[in-house]
Every structure is written in C-alpha cells, then in structure tokens.
Symmetry: C2
Subunit: 232 residues, 2 copies
DNA sequence: CGTCGAATTGACCGCGATCAAGGAAGGTGG
DNA sequence: CCACCTTCCTTGATCGCGGTCAATTCGACG
C-alpha cells in the first residue's frame, strides 16, 4: 500500500471516527492491487470475502439474469463497495468489473465484521453509510419507475453537471453502452435520446457534453431533490 | 399501547438485543394509533419525525413525481418502515398510506437517534436491518431491469407462494392496481399478464391464486436466489 | 337495487427493443 | 506511415411489449 493511501482511506466517512487501533487492524490485513480494465473483480453469488475500496480508476457494478445483463452503478474513487454483503456475510448480489485500470484495496470481510463487533464508532459509521446507500437506491428505483428514458437521460445530465460543480461542460465518464444500461435503455435508444435532447439545450459529441440552455433542460427534466439530490 | 404489543415489538430483530433500559426509553415516548384504510401517514419530502412500526394491517409505501405515482413496497406486520430516513435525519423519500385498517406505533426519531448513539447493540441491529433492506432493494432493482412484466408477475407468484410455506393456493394481499404498480406495469397489463400465465400453471380468480403446475410456472419464471430469495 | 370504484376487455398507439447496416475511432502489424 | 481490424457508436427499418383510451362487467356496500 502506498503511504498516501492510508490517510485517504482514513478520511472516508466510514473510517474517520474509528479508533486508531481498529483502523490499523483493518489496514494490516488489507491487500492492494492494480487491475487492468475489464477485469471481473467480483462475481454475483460468490461469498463476500472482501470489502473493496476503489482508490483510483472506475468500477462498474452489474447484474445478470437469464442471459441478460444490466449495469447497476459506477463506483468512483474513493469509496467502498459491496458493504452490505460483507456485513450480512451473504453472497454478492452484484458483480463488479474494472471499467478502466483501477487500484483496489481489499479488506477481508472477517476482519471487517470483527471490528464491527468491537468498535461501536465503526458500527455507527456503517449505519450512516448503509442508510446513504439505501436512500440512493430508493431514488434510483423512483427514477426508473416514474420516468421515461428521455427524462432519465435529461436528469442524468443535470445530476452529473451538478456533481461537477454545476459545470456546463463535462465528459461522460463511461462508455455510452454502459450508461445506456445504467439508465435502463439500449445503446441505440440512448443515441436517439441524445439527439432528441438537442432542442432542449444539450449538445453531446463523443464524450463531450455541453449544456447550452440549462433552463430548457430543466423544463424537460423536472429534477427533484427527492430523486436527484446526492446529498440528502 | 396494548400490553401484548410490547413483547411483540421487543422480539423484532431491531430491538431484541438492546438494553432493557433503552428499550423502555423508546417505548415510553411512543405513540400508538389505529388508522382506517387509505390514510396518508407519511408524505414524501416531510422531515422524518417518527420511526413507524406497523403492528396490524398493511401499509403501502409509494412515491410520486410529476403527477405520476408508483407503489414501492408493502409493509406487513410486524415491521418497521422508513428507518433510513430516521437515522439520516433526512426527509422521507417515500410516502406511506394504510392499505387497510392498521395499527401503527410511532417512535419519535429524536429518541431513536439518541438511543442509537447510546446503545451499541441497537446500533448494530440497525446495521443488520439496513443491510437487509438495502439488499432487498438491490434485488428489486434487478427484478425491474432484467425481467419483462410477465416474468416479474410469474416470479411474484412464486415468491408469495414460498413466503406462505410453499402453499399452492393463497390470496393476493393487495388490490390488483397496487400490485400492478409495484410490479412496474399498468392494471390493464396485469390483467392480460394474468391471462397469459394460465397456460403456465397459474389460475387467478379475484384474489384467489392457485398454482396448478408449479414446474411450468418455474420454467417461465426462472427464479433466482439472487433476486427472489427473501432470506439471503 | 342503485351506486361507485375496481377489474376486465378491446382497439389503438407509441416508446423502446430488435435487427441490420453503415460510419468513426483507436490499436496493430506490415 | 498506412492498410487492416476491432469495437463502439450511430442510423434506419421494423417489431412488439406495454401504455393509453374507452366501454363494459364485476363486486362491495349502502
């Protein structure tokens, strides 16, 4: 592990209030590894042996059933993923693959569960983290069930812009096919939706997104703090 | 509160390991109320003033956006709901209404958060509960994104049968329109899907469901433990 | 019985998926 | 440096699942 990894991880909400002793117990048993793109880190159904932390790169969580696949989320540095499976000691419900070259820290789940029993501050931090994840998923479900694919795309653009400090220009951080799957649509349909948004103030050329008229975009997107707000 | 409510609540996973003292602090401040059907208990966006526990009846969680509504879940006795909002001290992300006459216990959120800080066993129980809820939502998302509406209905019937100790006959526990919304389809489409399942071993007459050929049903449903299993 | 809401059924529409073909971009080897 | 290949994206044509609209039937309840 690089020396500057440790303070970075320590500063995560999940770890920042736990005792120094417990933190080091976790870190001592951890592995760090750099993976190239398109590596399957986790397979749905496997026992959850490690809590994963992505330090650099980009991880895609996805799920499969009956020959179909869907993208569930993208995890960006620095955050943990698959915490719930580790805590419940249950099988992974999603698979994870590197979307690009990524550095990942893996903490044995048994260690995490042991510290969880031992350090109350950590247990409380896990609660906050899980509650946050849960609420994000509720929002995601509402997004899927209450909106058309065009509306989902429009709001995705607004959210991403917000996330980049309200920048009116930014780059899509993943392949369009993955984005399409995440948004619950096909790549073809995403292409068409992108064109359909042009009259509403959005130009997308390759990965480059430019919002030319944010008011028009908001008119069609109708963003809601109870679906699109990351922080609440 | 009725005398027999207290042991019932106490036996919930969420409360069963906490100290007697803390449990009584929670109970002391709690309100109990019986509501008729179709009462809006909670409105999306309101501050989360209470942790709710449904003791009898049936609560529907739903969400709205831009004039549309969708059913998110049905809560049956005895369980809590909207725990994440209480812990995060954030606004409700879903609304709740009684689907039938229901008795509900309401514990002030400030009490819950205070005890959460104080009682580590309770904090750990909250983790387990939230992790469970989170994983249920992941499964629900996979169900929505990976399956057609007919497949969702087929699997819903199998899950419900499983839940009723593998009974081949049971009653739908909610209006078909709510079920349709929960399954992400219209009432009309649910009607048609019900007819479409008849050749696959399912008879539905009113609320009465009869599985006449569970193997045929499984062939079309292809249930997966990573989507349909309640316990994992 | 009459009333009202829910469920069903039919006809039609449209969003989004599928299938198929054509570019654009990036990497590889001669 | 350029031909070639691979892969992704785009575009067009068509299909079908599921939604919408409307009319009817069913069922609970007063």
């Amino acid at each position: 592990m690089r020396p500057d990894d440790i303070p970075a991880i320590r500063s995560l909400n999940l770890f920042k209030d736990m005792s120094e002793e417990c933190f080091h117990t976790l870190i001592r048993g951890a592995y760090v590894q750099t993976f190239p793109a398109q590596v399957e880190l986790i397979t749905e159904g496997d026992p959850s042996d490690f809590l994963h932390i992505v330090v650099s790169g980009n991880i895609e969580l996805h799920a499969n059933w009956n020959g179909r696949e869907t993208s569930m989320a993208n995890v960006r540095p620095i955050s943990t993923f698959i915490l719930a499976a580790t805590i419940k000691d249950g099988p992974y419900l999603m698979s994870a693959r590197t979307a690009e070259k990524s550095r990942v820290i893996m903490i044995p789940s048994t260690d995490v569960r042991a510290i969880f029993e031992q350090d109350s501050e950590f247990a409380r931090a896990v609660v906050t983290e899980l509650a946050q994840c849960y609420r994000s998923l509720v929002k995601n479900t509402k997004n899927l069930k209450l909106r058309t694919s065009l509306e989902r795309l429009a709001n995705y653009i607004l959210r991403t812009s917000n996330f980049s400090e309200n920048a009116l220009e930014f780059k899509l951080s993943q392949e369009k096919r993955r984005l399409a799957s995440f948004l619950g649509m096909t790549p073809e349909n995403l292409s068409r939706s992108i064109k359909a948004l042009r009259p509403y103030g959005v130009e997308i050329d390759g990965n480059q997104v430019t919002i030319t008229n944010i008011d028009d975009l908001k008119t069609i997107a109708k963003p809601s703090v109870f679906i699109d707000d990351f922080s609440s």
